[in-house]
Each structure stands twice: as structure tokens, then as C-alpha cells.
Subunit: 197 residues, 2 copies
């Protein structure tokens, strides 16, 4: 077995997600993860501080990519559109080629309140970072906060569809639809006619 | 000292918030809280499972009040307006008379990542509960989720202003302004003119 394993992180992630999915996050040990991945505990701890980190290792990279993408984008676009465009571009690069892994991770996080709270914390930090970039582009702080929050809301709606087994469109393709629904929800007119009395 | 203390919860909350504020959440003990409040540990544990609970004891009541308020409200209002109206009415009943306490609590939670994640979890649960009520009123699930999320975003923006020392308007008065800013952020037109190149 060669010592140099360029795909170690990915193999550990896949093994961890399979085990979390099969037997739950709490009941899975690092020993089981490395056994399934065919690697050593030493390799595991070279890459992750603990088993929870396997699930959040991409978060800081994701934030950096999104911030760079917004900063590099067309600065004549309205703030919300600029953010949604960036979210779509980053999703194409970071999520589409590993759709099964990202979907499985989502299910594992959703099943555990502690992991879910951590995920919400990461999302809140990302929202603040996006708001800071919009503010630097010339938005007032309130508009920056609201546009960042609205973009994350559209992203969540699109993501929920994207993780469904029967959904084949990319996240980038689902985002405009989610943004359209968000605009319809926020507009004065209700999307649905009132129910008959 | 009379054994019957109708204001025990409020006194424990006030004492806890003062101490969390002065010396940090982590470093404050239940013994210090009861000493400051002039009560016993037994009284504390009659009302709260641990010191963290002092900060979250109102969350489930808040959720119930908001849900009832939406359900009792004018069902011809668009979903987002119906939720924002309910948030304002509940804020009047639950927050305005204890503005200093609520503001101090907000500062304590914001200073501690673990508390912040828990708060985000409670807010996510509230958003889902609001979405469920909107769905029951006839919204499709996506519109319900987006309108609930958008209302919570407006609430957060209004709340940030409300907790500023120089702000005297009520949360109910600040909500329409936040909703107006949200609508402006979500509309196609940027609120701010683009910066000169």
C-alpha cells in the first residue's frame, strides 16, 4: 500500500458519511472510519481534529470561494443578484461533482441537533461575511445584511430541492427559480389565492 | 423571607444576566446567581435545568405566542405581512416592558459561540413552525418557507436597531421599516447607486 494517498481526505469523508448514515453520527468511532477507508488513525488525525470536523472541513473553503466570487463579479448587478450568481458559480465548482456526498452529509447534519446548530452557526458566519463584502461594494449595512440573508434563504430553498432523489437539475439551475419564488413571497401579492371562506 | 416568590423567575433572570454581562457566561456559577437574586439553589432548579436555560426559557413561549397570533390574524393578508404583524404584536406583549433585560440577554448570547448556535437553532425551529402555519393557511411549502424566512430576516434587522442604546422606538414600530428595506433589497433595483468607477 503506497504511503502517499492524495485522495485520503475524500476517502475518509466518504467512509465517515457512509457510517454516520448507516449507524448514526454518535455511534460511529474514528477507528471504524479509518477501517472502512483502509487508512490509519494517524492519517485521519493529520486531516481532522475529530469526527465532527469531517463534516465541516469544507465550510471555510466555501466561505472563501463565495467571497472571492462576489468580489470578482460584475459590480453593477444588484446586491442580491450578485450574491446568488456567486453562490451558483461556487456550487458548480464545489458541489456538483460530489452530489451524492453532499446530499448524504446534509442528511447526517439534519438528523443531529448539535450538528445542525453548528451548521447554522457556519451559515450565520457566511451571511455576515457576504454582508461585509456587499458593504465594501457600497451598500449601506442594513441593505447588505438583508441582501445577504435573502440570498442565503434562496440558496436554502434551492438546496432543499437539489438534495431530493428525483431532482436532476444543478444547484446553479435551481437558484433562479428559488430567487423568483423569494421575490414572489416578498412582494405584496400572495402567490396563492386566499382559500375560500 | 416569604417562601412564596411570584417574581422568582424574573429575579433569577435579572441576576443571571447581570453576572453573565459582568464576568462572562462561562465563569458564572448558579451559586453566584442565587446569591445575587437573594434566593436559594433549590428555587433556581425548580425553574431551570441549568444556567443556560435561564437564557432560553422564553423561547418556547415565544414560539407558541407567535403561532397563535398568526393563526388568529387576518387571513387575507399576504403571508409575509401576516407574519410580520404577528411578530410585532408579540414583541409588544413580551419584549417592550423588559427592554433592558432582552437587550442584555442579546449581548450575552452574541458574545458566546455556543449560545449563539443554540439561539440559531431556536430561530430555525421557529421559522419552521411559522412555515407550517402558513402552509396550513394554504401556501405551498416553498412559499411558506420563504415567507417565514423573510419575516425572520426583517425581524432580525429590526431587532438589531431596537437593541441600540440610542433607539427609543418599539420593535413593532421598527418592523415596517425593516420590511420596507427587505423589499427594497429583494427588488431588482439596488437601493444604493453603484459607486463611481
Amino acid at each position: 500500500m503506497p504511503r502517499w494517498k492524495p485522495d485520503a481526505v475524500e476517502r475518509l469523508q466518504t467512509a465517515a458519511l457512509e457510517l454516520f448514515d448507516e449507524q448514526g453520527f454518535e455511534r460511529t468511532t474514528v477507528a471504524e472510519i479509518v477501517q472502512r477507508a483502509g487508512l490509519t488513525q494517524r492519517t485521519f488525525f493529520n486531516h481532522f481534529a475529530d469526527k465532527r470536523e469531517v463534516l465541516f472541513v469544507l465550510s471555510s473553503q466555501l466561505q472563501q470561494e463565495i467571497i472571492s466570487e462576489i468580489a470578482a463579479g460584475d459590480d453593477t448587478l444588484p446586491p442580491l443578484d450578485a450574491v446568488v450568481r456567486a453562490l451558483g458559480a461556487v456550487a458548480d465548482r464545489m458541489f456538483e461533482h460530489q452530489r451524492a456526498v453532499v446530499t448524504r452529509r446534509y442528511a447526517v447534519v439534519a438528523a443531529n441537533p448539535e450538528l445542525q446548530e453548528r451548521e447554522l452557526g457556519k451559515n450565520a458566519a457566511l451571511t455576515e461575511a457576504i454582508a461585509a463584502v456587499l458593504h465594501a461594494r457600497g451598500c449601506d449595512p442594513e441593505t447588505a445584511f438583508l441582501a445577504a440573508g435573502a440570498a442565503m434563504l434562496a440558496q436554502q430553498a434551492a438546496f432543499r430541492k437539489w438534495t431530493r432523489p428525483d431532482e436532476t437539475r444543478t444547484l446553479r439551475d435551481l437558484l433562479p427559480e428559488a430567487l423568483h419564488s423569494l421575490r414572489a413571497s416578498v412582494d405584496r401579492q400572495p402567490v396563492d389565492p386566499p382559500l375560500p371562506a
